[in-house]
């Protein structure tokens, strides 16, 4: 686990506020909790200076009052750093990482469609993965969402009827 300890040390040396926020779960798996304020600098440092050159995926999840975002980044040697950050549900704004990982654009579009995240700086393009006539303000991966909400005033049927 020397490798993982070294990564932890390098991160905490550079960012002292991460001191008790990094957990080594097992060999090759580190989880780091980073506040939204410092997220960008930590993420950029890991990607550009620490060889975490591959963004596996961004996981978004409904965490009560907040939306939680996990950026799973990997090194070529197989070590995965999972950087977590949150944004309040009332104003779920995060900044895009597509300037560092252009391939991440589709993962961010998913966060927009399925969790209602607002991604600042996301390049314009076609939505993914919901249909074009999906009703506004319905985010299926939020815990309070269920399929019944598709019907009713703003439901899908109305949309279909109106063309």
């Amino acid at each position: 686990m020397a490798n993982e300890e070294a990564i932890k040390k390098e991160l905490t040396d550079k960012f002292p506020f991460l001191a008790d926020k990094i957990v080594i779960k097992r060999e090759r798996r580190l989880f780091a909790d980073v506040g939204q304020d410092h997220f960008r600098e930590v993420f950029e440092h890991a990607a550009k200076k620490m060889d975490f050159v591959h963004l596996c995926i961004i996981t978004g999840l409904d965490d009560g009052d907040n939306l939680l975002f996990i950026y799973h980044m990997a090194r070529m040697d197989g070590t995965v750093l999972n950087v977590k950050t949150t944004a309040p549900k009332s104003n779920p704004v995060i900044k895009t990482i597509t300037d560092i990982f252009p391939g991440g654009v589709i993962y961010e579009r998913e966060l927009v469609d399925l969790l209602g995240a607002k991604v600042e700086g996301l390049p314009p393009g076609k939505r993914y993965p919901l249909p074009d006539d999906w009703p506004a303000n319905q985010y299926p991966l939020r815990k309070d969402w269920n399929p019944d909400m598709l019907e009713g005033k703003d439901g899908r049927k109305e949309e279909v009827k109106n063309g």
């Binding site: 779960k25 097992r26 090759r28 798996r29 989880f31 050159v53 591959h54 963004l55 596996c56 995926i57 996981t59 999840l61 996990i70 799973h72 990997a74 070529m76 040697d77 197989g78 070590t79 995965v80 999972n82 990982f101 252009p102 391939g103 991440g104 654009v105 589709i106 993962y107 399925l114 393009g125 076609k126 939505r127 993914y128 993965p129 919901l130 249909p131 074009d132 299926p140 991966l141 399929p147 598709l150 019907e151 049927k157 279909v160 063309g163």
Partner: protein, 406 residues
């Protein structure tokens, strides 16, 4: 000449799955490509949250027909890590054996599809015939040609007998013999080489930048293979070579896949020779303690990842699936820039896309409702309107054609 925009899809020219590639052409050359995906979105991730872990294994297995074992193994690995379950060594080896057999049938399938896309249907007939041998051995081992249902929490559901393993070796011998011939075809047949060389080029830098995975990345010299880098199952004890190529084009992707087949045959022989004795399953708890895990797996098409978060109940809090195609799709637009329109099918097919994998979730439609019926004209008008909204308009062209007819 003015630029022309053509929608390719949602009915796809290369594979039997829906997705829409919107191609802007300058003459025969592609100047820009845009994508619309999501037609296969089935709500798997949301559905997982409403089912128990054991039910989820079966659901996750159906994310994809071809890499079904990849997805279910990746998922159970994550759950077992959270629960702290150590599965018996024999179960690990059986999972690895099925994984490598799956890689063989997937790569042979791809080779056939690639042959078909370039009009080399003989290759399709040959490879799919040989693939049948693998499918038959799957049916004999697991009872099914796809969706093998081998995995369960804490191990595998079936043990293999010595006789069954001997049968596997026979199939491997046949396939290896045939693959040697395909390697000759892929590397020496002038028609194939000329058709595939320089098509769908993706430089090493672009492949790295766009996060390309699997054979698509390895053909652009991206030295990445989860089996070696982040060993899981029995791969730590097994020896194999990661095939890297630097042709950066469809030809390179074909070479990587055929050579990987040879590695899989070697692996299977080693797995069977080393197969430990003992039980194949340990008892798993129904409720999984709170925790989270991120699991990676080298599926035939590239790195597959699953993130699972448990909350102490018998149902997961969140399941996140990222299939290899999703990571590779971003590179397709880059590959096709400045290529001919006629290269679209083979270039897309060369990443071995699987769109049902890519679009996993949501879209739960209720069974009730009145049900609408549309007349042919209405359907046509709906189609015209829909495309017009996407910025694709045939009005001018129709007018010109009508004038010509007059």
């Amino acid at each position: 000449m003015a630029k022309v925009t053509i929608p390719i899809g949602p009915q796809h020219p290369a594979l039997k799955e829906p997705e829409c590639f919107i191609v802007t052409l300058d003459g025969e050359r592609i100047s820009h490509m845009d994508m619309r995906l999501g037609y296969n979105h089935r709500g798997v991730e949301k559905a997982c949250e409403a089912r128990t872990y054991v039910q989820d294994i079966y659901l996750i297995e159906r994310v994809c027909g071809i890499c079904s074992h990849s997805h279910s193994t990746c998922f159970v690995q994550a759950v077992e890590e959270i629960a702290g379950l150590q599965i018996p060594p024999r179960a690990t080896y059986i999972r690895t054996l099925v994984a490598e057999l799956e890689r063989i049938h997937s790569h042979l399938l791809w080779l056939g599809v690639a042959g078909h896309e370039i009009g080399f249907d003989t290759l399709l007939m040959y490879t799919w015939r040989d693939r049948e041998a693998v499918m038959d051995i799957f049916a004999a081992l697991t009872g099914n040609r796809v969706n093998y249902g081998m995995n369960t929490l804490g191990g595998v559901r079936r043990d293999f007998t010595k006789e069954q393993l001997a049968e596997v070796l026979k199939v491997v011998d046949i396939c290896e013999e045939r693959t040697k011939y395909y390697i000759e075809v892929c590397t020496q047949e002038p028609t194939l080489i000329n058709r595939l060389t320089g098509v769908g080029t993706l430089s090493h830098e672009d492949a790295m930048r766009l996060g390309t995975v699997g054979p698509t990345g390895r053909a652009s010299a991206v030295d990445k293979d989860v089996r070696r880098d982040d060993p899981y199952l029995a791969y730590k004890d097994l020896s194999f070579k990661v095939i890297i190529d630097n042709h950066n084009d469809v030809f390179g992707r074909a070479v990587v896949r055929v050579l990987e087949l040879m590695e899989s045959y070697k692996l299977i022989r080693e797995i069977i020779a080393k197969m430990p004795d003992g039980p194949v399953t340990v008892k798993a708890p129904r409720k999984i303690q709170a925790g989270e895990a991120f699991s990676r797996y080298e599926a035939p098409r590239g790195e597959d990842t699953h993130y699972v978060k448990a909350n102490g109940t018998d149902k997961p809090e969140r399941v996140r699936v990222r299939a290899p195609t999703m990571a590779n799709l971003q590179s397709v637009a880059k590959m096709l820039e400045n290529n001919n329109l006629a290269d679209v099918p083979i270039a897309i097919a060369a990443i071995d896309p699987c769109f049902s994998c890519t679009d996993r979730m949501i879209g739960i439609r209720r069974g009730r409702g009145t049900g609408n019926s549309m007349r042919w004209d209405d359907l046509r008008n709906y189609g015209v309107k829909w495309y017009r909204k996407q910025g694709i308009d045939f009005t001018d062209l129709n007018r010109k054609l009508a004038k010509k007819q007059e």
